[in-house]
Symmetry: C2
Subunit: 411 residues, 2 copies
């Protein structure tokens, strides 16, 4: 894509109220635009990153047996009264339809939709197990929506719900999901700083698990076990001064952001909605449920918090908006030729064909953070050379123009 | 996918209140589940159809220069006060945030977001033209949400907004979009019954255009010109008794559903938000805007209204949930082998491996409406034959097992 026609401009400054790094860099880089506190528009490059994360997550969910559906944001009050959460959930956006006079919510989660829905699809043990997920926009009336994409009032989320006949089956699927989540964090480049974390389990389970990414921008406090690299959320450290995984008490307090949360619901919701199955002998049982959340837009913000330097974002390859940032320094004809060749070879290229100074183009390239930068200048072109530089490294390389494709395919 | 593990079951009956054909067939076929009036969950097969329509539309929008973004559903009251629509738009869901005490809406349209957003991205004539679209969930407090997916309170929509320097440029893009819309309706199989329709233009334009699909389920009345096959919406027929396209007055009244609406906004919204650009001489002008809507979920409902018979849905190939419905009649081992071969050859197959009677499987196949049905029965297997039938045709063919792939690739 030519940068001159891209519907997003880099910006030198953002308003003073923007305290978080991900907000600053994403707004300045032209990835998002803030409509109001905690509510963002994803501009073309931000949309591309979001879709890349979404597709990585989708593929892994399908791999672990997930079937994708799409549930509505609008939810009726009655369902929330059945679970008793209509009045207890503070951050639920609630309102009344002018025409139907019914009370509605826009959903921050979907247990109140998926559980009654499953009653239409699951009847006997033959219909189990089932693993159902969606990637969908959620809403939360956040008290403090001030951390860019980390804590939004509107956000994109993957939520998967598991339905099993037994606790043993639920446990096995849950353990499998821990592995899958770790695989996702590895693919998107934050695995080194992301820790499985023991968290409160609610009324039905001893523990739930979070995945927490270490960052000064995080609003959570966790205690990381230096021995096994598993963490404990502050909310349970008071009861328990050792890591449940390895019994070690050598813990380090760190700030972190929750990038995933998995929960054994067991029969909490199947009981509320009387979601049952019949076994081989025709006997009825409550279904064992689990839920597995992962914030897609929050992950985008977290990646920026973890992967940046003082000049801008350093996108991990798998989620970068483009593969290559091609920069023309007064060599538009030659650059255009190379742009066409790169596209033909299958690379996704942002081509800076704007009438800007070299310095300004380099500054923007660092801010935007595409993994590989290629510079075509008159001086280099004379010797049939191009400059190539990784965003994550400090020094460029000068290579022969004719070796460019081979070089890119190797790296 | 094996039908035995699919998270959607066909249903024999739906509740009496469901008057529309698309609701009945989509619920009975296991494509959607109604949460409340005008609000649906898309089950795995419904989700697949929705995504196929979405991808056809996305490709065409990119082809005509569209850049994809994602705007929020939550919108602040202030923006709607600037355009004067906060109090005049009846179907706007409005509410107050408990924490921030601010008034919010969830958007039925996005002029109030995209116009101020464009002020951050468009400054001079060099930044124009721009064509920006999204495929996003919209909300409308509908008085009568009773036509299945045709009139929802929550629905998926594509909306593109054009930004041009001159009316001439806007006119040209608008004319190009008419061609693109017709191409989309052709691809999804409803072109024969879909007519370009003159509709009221509002304060700024003489006409807008709708695309109306003829169906008894439609709640609109249009007058179709028998000569040029262009229609006029009832709302303007009273002023004008001839077709504006060909001046003919030989018109036929038909019922229809609006499946697209394009509108020259001209400077209506750029004036409200003072969205301007500077020309070559540094002089400032208001930007010419257009908007181009297309309901993705409504299209899904419309396809069902147009493409069905008394036994069920007849999906057009391009939007069908699967390519092939493979049915095993007590020949599970052989069917499974053929299922694996079909998948390997790149076909998307729904394999009915359930323990059901042949009659019940055939009934479900007709209801679900996958374009090609293949039956493997003991009787046929003995002679190394398979039965193949198009959903749109009445008679099956018996062919040699070994000719199956060749046959499918040819058809």
């Amino acid at each position: 894509m030519k940068q001159s026609i891209l519907f997003s401009k880099t910006r030198k400054e953002v308003s003073a109220e923007s305290e978080s790094i991900n907000h600053q860099l994403l707004v300045r880089g032209g990835f998002v635009n803030q409509l109001m506190s905690g509510v963002y528009t994803y501009l073309p490059m931000g949309f591309k990153v979001l879709k890349k994360i979404e597709n990585i997550v989708r593929e892994e969910m399908e791999e672990i047996g997930g079937q994708e559906i799409l549930m509505p944001a609008l939810q009726p009050k009655e369902n929330w009264e059945i679970t008793g959460r209509w009045d207890t959930m503070d951050d639920l956006f609630k309102f009344t339809s002018f025409y139907s006079k019914t009370d509605l919510a826009i959903g921050p989660t979907h247990e109140e939709v998926i559980t009654p829905l499953a009653k239409h699809q699951i009847f006997s043990y033959k219909d189990l197990p089932k693993y159902i997920f969606q990637i969908q926009t959620k809403f939360r009336d956040e008290e403090r929506a001030k951390s860019g994409l980390l804590r939004g009032r509107e956000f994109l989320m993957k939520d998967l719900y598991s339905f099993n006949t037994s606790e043993k089956e639920l446990d096995d699927y849950y353990d499998g999901m821990i592995k899958v989540y770790n695989k996702i964090y590895k693919q998107i480049g934050i695995a080194d700083k992301t820790y499985l974390t023991f968290a409160p389990g609610g009324t039905f389970s001893k523990y739930s698990h979070e995945f927490q990414t270490e960052t000064p921008a995080g609003e959570d406090i966790i205690y990381l076990c230096k021995k096994c690299k598993v963490a404990i959320n502050k909310e349970i450290i008071d009861e328990q001064k050792v890591c449940p995984e390895c019994e070690s008490s050598d813990l380090k307090e760190i700030k972190s952001i929750e990038v995933g949360n998995i929960f054994k619901l067991k029969t909490k919701f199947s009981q509320s909605f009387n979601l049952t199955y019949t076994d081989k002998n025709g006997k009825s049982h409550l279904i064992q449920m689990g839920c597995y959340g992962l914030g897609i837009s929050r992950l985008m913000g977290t990646i920026v918090e973890v992967c940046h330097d003082e000049r801008g974002i350093i996108w991990p390859k798998e989620v970068a908006p483009f593969d290559i940032h091609l920069i023309s320094i007064s060599e538009d004809e030659k650059s255009n030729k190379i742009y066409e060749i790169l596209k033909k070879e299958g690379f996704d290229v942002l081509f800076d064909d704007r009438e800007e100074s070299a310095g300004s183009k380099f500054k923007d390239a660092d801010l935007i953070g595409i993994p590989t930068r290629i510079v075509i200048s008159s001086k280099l072109a004379k010797d049939k050379k191009v400059e190539i530089k990784k965003r994550s490294e400090s020094d460029p390389e000068i290579i022969n123009e004719e070796d460019l494709i081979k070089y890119l395919k190797r790296s």
